[in-house]
């Protein structure tokens, strides 16, 4: 019996407390409605906890089919170094890319539309190098590939979106959890701003609704929230190591609302404290009530 099966069994039988795997008590409640699952892995190696969290779902093969074209979308919006916690951890991104290829993906693409100069963001974040080393096709976004899309949301009727993400077979969102001046916290749903074309800064006028509108269009197969280092102040780009806290945690789920709701707890908040999580839950995009979520905690 490997760990994966072990956890599954634990979840079903609800005897988590007696197991020496640091499985939280929430697990017992979660067993009541096992539809929504989150894997929360902690440990020293960012790559290992990423793999462990995905494996808790039965491995990447559950999500990626042979010959899939996969987009792995990190947050690399800022000209900051990995230790400053403003961009997704490069090891987490690389681990996901590697898992996709192991699961048989034909091509894994990595890109983002940064706020700072793209060249610096790609290089200084360490993501371009790490993802390339894992075999990903890392490209700068091409202006010609933004196409006006009907979104039909309450705030966003239509917007130019990046075609490569729309056309991909599978999309994996790999955001980082960090502080933000308006949204309070930016995690998975806010990461979709990175595939918006046009003057996307306007969406801050109706940020919560806009993020939900976007998230209804871009449906990720999997969300991997990087909380290896989190930025607790002066987000979303930080810069001071004093604002960075090492949590050595990665959260994986298929429900982006649940992932963000869990992410909020890392900062001592609740999902319902965040406007976009609330609006998303109301719109039926996912669940923010963590008591109804099967949370698998893994220590690596």
């Amino acid at each position: 019996m490997d760990r994966r099966e072990f956890i599954k069994l634990a979840g079903i039988t609800g005897i988590g407390l007696s197991i020496p795997l640091n499985i939280s008590p929430i697990l017992i409640d979660a067993a009541v409605s096992p539809e929504t699952k989150l894997a929360v892995a902690s440990g020293k190696s960012a790559a290992e906890i990423t793999k462990a969290a995905v494996n808790a779902f039965g491995g990447m093969k559950k999500f990626i089919s042979r010959d899939d074209i996969v987009v792995v979308k990190p947050n690399m919006a800022w000209d900051r170094l990995p230790e400053q916690g403003a961009n997704t951890n490069p090891e987490v991104v690389a681990a996901i890319v590697a898992l996709c290829y192991e699961a048989g993906a034909k091509k894994v693409k990595v890109f983002d539309r940064p706020v700072n100069d793209a060249r610096r963001c790609y290089v200084q974040s360490g993501i371009a190098e790490a993802a390339r080393a894992a075999g990903a096709v890392v490209s700068y976004m091409d202006d010609r590939k933004f196409k006006n899309m009907r979104i039909g949301g309450e705030a966003l009727r239509e917007w130019p979106l990046y075609q490569e993400i729309i056309e991909a077979d599978k999309v994996i969102n790999v955001p980082i959890a960090k502080h933000h001046g308006l949204a309070w916290l930016t995690m998975s749903m806010k990461n979709w701003m990175g595939v918006m074309g046009g003057s996307r800064d306007r969406i801050h006028q109706k940020l919560d609704q806009s993020l939900v509108d976007l998230s209804l269009v871009i449906k990720p197969t999997l969300t991997v929230l990087d909380a290896v280092r989190v930025l607790t102040a002066n987000g979303p780009q930080g810069g001071s190591l004093a604002d960075v806290r090492k949590l050595n945690t990665v959260i994986v789920g298929t429900d982006q609302v649940a992932v963000d709701a869990y992410g909020a707890t890392l900062f001592g908040m609740k999902g319902s404290d965040l406007g976009y999580v609330r609006v998303a839950a109301e719109a039926g995009l996912g669940t923010m009530d963590l008591s109804k979520v099967n949370i698998m905690k893994i220590d690596v």
């Binding site: 100069d117 793209a118 060249r119 610096r120 001046g181 308006l182 800064d201 979303p236 780009q237 810069g239």
Partner: protein, 520 residues
């Protein structure tokens, strides 16, 4: 010899273009190539900067290589190395072969220009960069020719792509991405005055139709300087008894060296192209270190060129007069500088800056956001084509130090990152009449979000406002902490009020200035 010379010219032109293309960020902190090395080797830039600012950049010691080479070998730089000279050669190829000799002694103009530039630099006015061939070439290519080329190439590939995306992916797109990875720049550059600067450059090339290498013969101040240095050059041309004065050499001479006049050969005007040697049907011409003694200039003449004492004095006097003439305007008064004159981080105080800036455009070429633009008259005539940050076009990237790395004269200091992030180039202020949370009760936080200082210079004050229906809303209204703001302008660049941003930077508070300060 012609083949050898052309190979040398080709190599240096390609080297120039290669380094030019490398003058752009690849995301790392350093460029990795000595992109300004052509300017480092330029003795005119060296001498005028030395005179105007009494400062020496260590890299300028390279220019002694050219000085020594010229003293020994004559103007080989002009004939064999100078990339602008090579381009003039290429442009001149369009012209039919016929004698380039004119009756008017235009070739003296370059000496007057040189005297003017040297004298004015002696009185602290640095104008050499406007006419210096290397500076002129980098500026013209960077701000005009290269963007033009880029625009054309992109237009072609975009058209192919739009016409048939399916086919394009297989055919033109791989070629396009290969070009993008090699000779194209990361993004289409846009510069103010690119048409004007390009026009001047095309006129310079076009003058080759009037006379081959018109610029090099008649206008180039560096050519004049090297001409003077070559006066006693050891490598000399000699003509043997076999010469039957057929005049074949005169029609192929790239300079105004009068090669057909046997002992009247003017070595200061000779570009050492070896054409006369190659073409001589009698094989009477040779270059060597033990040639005839040439008339290096009798009284009142310089290397056979009569500059005229009065004209020399007039050029020198105009160099002196130009200094107060250009500076008498109100710009020299504190507070009279244009508020938009935001200099790149690390720039020296304005007067010192202008003494050094040679308007080569390297900083503008390398600027990662395209924000550095050439001025027209904002900094006075003296500051023509000097760099100014226009945040609406591009902001100053917080962790980028490239402009200081490429500046050849130290007008922009090369700052380590820790220092650069603390240099203020101006201060941001909010226009409450346009800002969404102030004037229009609409949430917006973009300026705060993008503010890069470690502790954000933009902070929020929560304000309760009522909308038209009387409903109360709480809004975050941005405020600028002037102590923390460094004036990078990313707030202005990203402000959603695009037409006239609701937050904007002016140069008040810039670290380099003693007088242009605001806070106590």
């Amino acid at each position: 010899m012609q083949t050898l010379r052309r190979i040398s010219q080709g190599i240096f032109l390609l080297l120039f273009l290669f380094l030019f293309i490398q003058t752009q960020s690849r995301g790392a902190d350093e460029l990795g190539y000595p992109v300004k090395i052509f300017l480092d080797f330029d003795p005119l830039i060296f001498i005028t900067t030395l005179l105007s600012s009494h400062s020496v950049q260590k890299a300028f010691y390279f220019s002694f290589v050219i000085i020594i080479a010229t003293v020994i070998l004559g103007r080989v730089f002009c004939g064999w190395v100078c990339p602008l000279g090579t381009l003039n050669n290429m442009a001149g190829a369009i012209r039919k072969r016929r004698s380039d000799r004119t009756n008017i002694a235009w070739n003296r103009v370059k000496y007057y220009l040189l005297i003017f530039l040297i004298v004015s630099s002696l009185f602290t006015l640095q104008l050499a960069g406007v006419m210096d061939p290397i500076s002129l070439l980098i500026r013209s290519v960077a701000l005009s020719i290269y963007p033009l080329f880029e625009y054309a190439v992109r237009a072609i590939f975009d058209a192919l792509y739009a016409f048939n995306p399916g086919t394009a992916d297989g055919l033109s797109e791989p070629l396009y991405s290969a070009l993008k990875n090699s000779i194209l720049s990361f993004q289409q550059p846009h510069f103010k005055q690119s048409a004007f600067i390009g026009f001047i450059f095309i006129v310079i090339l076009g003058l080759n139709l009037v006379q081959k290498r018109f610029w090099c013969r008649n206008l180039c101040p560096l050519g004049a300087l090297l001409g003077i240095l070559s006066r006693y050059s050891v490598l000399k041309r000699s003509v043997s008894e076999g010469c039957n004065e057929c005049g074949a050499c005169a029609s192929v001479c790239q300079g105004n060296a009068d090669p057909d006049k046997k002992d009247g050969w003017k070595n200061a005007e000779c570009l050492y192209c070896w054409n006369c040697d190659d073409v001589c049907p009698q094989n009477a011409v040779s270059f060597g270190f033990r040639g005839h003694r040439v008339d290096v200039g009798s009284k009142g003449k310089f290397a056979g060129i009569d500059l005229g004492r009065r004209r020399v004095i007039a050029s020198a006097l105009s160099g002196i007069v130009a200094v107060p003439l250009i500076r008498v305007g109100p710009l020299s008064r504190s507070g009279a500088l244009s508020p938009e004159l935001i200099r790149p981080p690390g720039s020296l105080e304005e007067k010192e800056f202008l003494k050094r800036c040679v308007k080569c455009g390297e900083c503008m070429k390398v600027c990662i956001t395209n924000g550095l633009q050439p001025t027209l008259f904002d900094a006075g005539l003296e500051g023509l084509w000097s760099p100014v940050l226009v945040p609406k076009i591009g902001y100053c990237e917080y962790r980028c130090t490239l402009c200081g790395q490429v500046c050849p004269t130290g007008a922009i200091k090369k700052l380590p990152l820790e220092e650069k992030i603390n240099v203020k180039i101006g201060l941001a202020m909010i226009d409450k009449g346009r800002c969404l949370p102030y004037a229009h009760s609409t949430p917006c936080i973009v300026c705060e979000e993008v503010c890069p200082t470690v502790k954000k210079a933009i902070w929020f004050e929560e304000a309760a406002v009522r909308d038209r229906e009387g409903r109360e809303r709480t809004l975050k209204q941005p405020r600028v902490d002037l102590d923390l703001c460094i004036g990078c302008g990313i707030c202005e660049a990203k402000c959603p009020v695009k037409s006239r941003p609701a937050i904007y930077v002016s140069n008040i508070g810039e670290s380099r200035s003693g007088g242009n300060q605001l806070l106590l």
